[in-house]
């Protein structure tokens, strides 16, 4: 039902059941928000979205108030402006004045509000709460001093991720976001997905900085510094560099990385192809030999830790394949070292990932060979953009180059890993070929595309074999599906799980405050690559064929097992 309401003395259309904020936004009237999260029940905590009821002069919060017919609202009255300004000043009175040293400088909602509401003097002063930095996690740094208690991180961690590593602790002005017993994040059930960072309005949550180590390695001349980048990176940095969102910058990026000083530039999409080779073989093996089904992908380190913490009964279902990052890491310090005549300890291996959990994954003890880590440092997309800026590289004025070979050529199937559903599509292509000896007629599987949290399909692999597949992203969606399986659901044989909603394209290491349009552009860009490129299947990637011929033998071979596979174990969700 539609009706009109009056806003700032003008009539606008409203739909019954909407909140005032929905209506105002739809009509192009901006109202600031801090605690509001799209699609979630409003909590009304921050009060910054107050608007004035014209008749009574009362202030109400736009985020939680339902529109009523005939309502009269003022969104910019002196009372509204003064109230919002005071709220911002109150936050600032308990906020460290260190914007220049903050990683969110110029990308901070509190800073924006202070600017918008023209805060020019310290009108309200007082004692600031003292807090300690939490540097305990391998992926995420918490600085409670900068926290404004909007609790968006808590809600993401609970409602989207079902992890509940953090909650609001204590009361009143002593309130703080923290873990059980308010200990370091490393003692908690945190899966390092970084979605909390993505929703944090200030610098209270950031990734663990690997920047200095990398700069040092680059400066260190006797180290060979190699870099790999995840499939999603090439389509995720454009808007940060002033280019069109979603644009694929693969070639330019290769050139830029060399300019920065990386000795070798590899493409993680190559090991994505390798993952597909191993994983599809594993799937076929499990189906043929009656192994544990459904098989579940293990390339997302957030999901893997979630399984270890919350779903240990599904650990046998996890594919034993390492993630593409770790396969690349393992190959660089073995095969590549060998053919390049390098000692593994002289190689510094960097990866650029859309993900904070990859930092955790890189330092797992399973991911080492003879005490040497396969991956030495992991940069998020955000850090990578800063690296480009630091080295003063003009991305508009640079000739594209190819990645290094071997380990640099990919099929478009490997590239699909960026999108939720991509691993599944790529794996089905190769499994189909292996079982039928011929390619699929149509590679595209539409029900597995898009940003829906849970997508399923039935795939006729051979005349006799139909398998059920499911693709979930957002760990609470994964939890739902696992529950169904525990309760006896039998029609699913293979599951792709990505911790972040939508997959790596919206990973916890991606640029903050990207709008939905940019995300859609990234997804589109990936599928466009798949559309236009000739090699659409992992098993036709010439370098994949070579590496099996020259080094690995065949999928699931002894060597593969040594280098490319691993195992996982149950964890306690809280460490005392």
């Amino acid at each position: 039902m539609n009706f009109t309401i009056e806003v700032n003395n003008q009539k606008i259309e409203a739909v019954k059941g909407e909140t005032l904020l929905d209506t105002l936004t739809a009509n192009g009237i901006k109202v600031p928000t801090l605690c509001h999260m799209k699609g979630m029940i409003p909590t009304g905590a921050c009060r910054i979205c107050v608007v004035e009821q014209k008749l009574t002069g009362k202030l109400i919060t736009a985020c939680s108030y339902p529109v009523e017919e005939g309502m009269q609202i003022l969104t910019n009255s002196p009372k509204v402006t003064e109230s919002r300004k005071t709220i911002v000043e109150l936050l600032l009175s308990n906020h460290p004045d260190d914007c220049l040293y903050c990683s969110r400088n110029k990308n901070c909602e509190l800073q924006d509000l202070a600017e918008t509401y023209h805060v020019r003097e310290r009108r309200i002063r007082g004692k600031k709460n003292t807090h300690h930095l939490d540097l305990s996690s391998a992926s995420i740094v918490r600085d409670p001093a900068k926290c404004i208690l909007c609790a968006r991180c808590v809600r993401v961690c609970d409602e989207i991720m079902n992890v509940n590593a953090i909650d609001i602790l204590y009361r009143g002005s002593k309130s703080e976001i923290g873990t059980t017993f308010n200990k370091g994040l490393n003692t908690s059930s945190c899966v390092n997905c970084g979605q909390c960072i993505m929703v944090c309005p200030t610098g209270a949550l950031t990734e663990k900085d690997h920047f200095p180590e990398i700069l040092e390695a680059l400066a260190h001349t006797n180290k060979t510094v190699v870099v790999q980048y995840a499939p999603s990176i090439t389509v995720s940095i454009a808007e940060e560099l002033g280019l069109k969102a979603g644009e694929d910058l693969n070639g330019i990026m290769n050139a830029a990385l060399r300019k920065i000083g990386f000795d070798y530039v590899f493409d993680t999409s190559f090991t994505a192809d390798l993952t597909i080779m191993e994983e599809s073989a594993e799937l076929i093996h499990r189906i043929v030999n009656g192994g544990t089904l459904p098989m579940i992908t293990s390339c997302c380190p957030g999901w893997v830790k979630y399984a270890e913490e919350f779903a240990p009964e599904f650990i046998p279902n996890l594919s034993s394949c390492k993630s593409p990052q770790q396969m690349m890491g393992a190959l660089v310090k073995s095969h590549f070292a060998e053919i390049s005549n390098l000692k593994p300890e002289d190689i510094y291996s960097v990866s650029i990932m859309p993900c904070t959990a990859k930092k955790f994954e890189g330092q797992r003890k399973e991911m080492t060979q003879k005490g040497i880590s396969d991956i030495d440092a992991v940069l998020t997309t955000r850090e990578f953009v800063k690296l480009i800026q630091l080295f003063g590289i003009d991305m508009n004025n640079i000739e594209p180059q190819l990645a290094d070979s071997p380990l640099g050529i990919r099929s478009s199937a490997g590239k699909l890993f960026a999108n939720s559903g991509g691993v599944m599509e790529a794996a089905i292509r190769t499994a189909y070929f292996k079982l039928n000896g011929k390619e699929m007629v149509n590679f595209k599987i539409p029900p597995l595309r898009g940003t829906k949290g849970c997508k399923t399909a039935k795939i006729q692999i051979t005349e006799k074999l139909e398998i059920g597949v499911a693709v979930v992203s957002g760990l609470s969606n994964a939890e739902e599906l696992l529950k169904e399986i525990k309760n006896g659901r039998k029609d699913i044989h293979f599951i792709e799980v990505m911790a972040c909603p939508g997959g790596c394209i919206s990973g916890g290491g991606q640029p903050i405050n990207s709008n939905e349009e940019a995300l859609k552009e990234r997804i589109k860009s990936i599928y466009k690559i798949d559309e236009k490129e000739p090699i659409k299947v992992s098993h036709k990637n010439p370098e994949i064929i070579d590496i099996y011929k020259d080094f690995l033998g065949e999928p699931l071979s002894h060597k593969s097992h040594d280098l490319l596979h691993t195992s996982y174990a149950k964890r306690d969700d809280v460490i005392l």
């Binding site: 609970d158 509940n164 590593a165 953090i166 909650d167 609001i168 602790l169 204590y170 009361r171 923290g178 873990t179 059980t180 017993f181 308010n182 908690s188 059930s189 969700d573 809280v574 005392l576």
Partner: protein
């Protein structure tokens, strides 16, 4: 009662039993241990972070044991008007600890509590559940001395 017995008594409890269960555990153990928090989380299928969040929200819950004599000082308005802050001062000085702490010998702990509702007899303190009305600095000194002597 042991934690397990309390949980057995709450066998089919829903998540809204969290606070009563924590209250019963504290009643029996004197405080909420880390193990208790984790155990309750498993029982009710509530994340421990949430339990800790809930428990730290309310004044009642403690995470450390109290002294043998737990002295609660009412901070209601009537008590304040009639000098409860002086009473608190005196106790703190006498025991050489601040409110919220326990003496090293584990004998005394002090807690400032919300209005006990005995405003007509202000200022009021409560030691191990026993009320003392219209206390004065002299009276409180005497009470504490007596308890000390009983234990020396």
């Amino acid at each position: 009662m042991q934690i397990e017995e309390i949980l057995i008594a709450h066998k089919d409890s829903e998540k809204d039993s969290l606070i009563p269960i924590l209250q019963e555990i504290q009643e029996s153990e004197g405080f909420l241990s880390k193990e208790a928090v984790i155990r309750v989380g498993k029982h009710l299928d509530i994340p421990t972070s949430r339990i800790f969040g809930v428990a730290t929200f309310y004044n009642q819950f403690r995470f450390e044991p109290t002294g043998k004599y737990h002295i609660q000082i009412c901070r209601g308005t009537a008590c304040h008007v009639l000098g409860s802050s002086t009473v608190l001062d005196v106790i703190e000085k006498q025991l050489k600890i601040k409110a919220g702490k326990t003496t090293r010998d584990g004998l005394f702990s002090i807690e400032v509590v919300a209005c006990i509702g005995a405003c007509g007899l202000a200022p009021v303190i409560c030691i191990n559940g026993e009320f003392h009305a219209k206390v004065t600095p002299e009276k409180i000194k005497q009470i504490v001395e007596t308890l000390k002597n009983q234990n020396s």
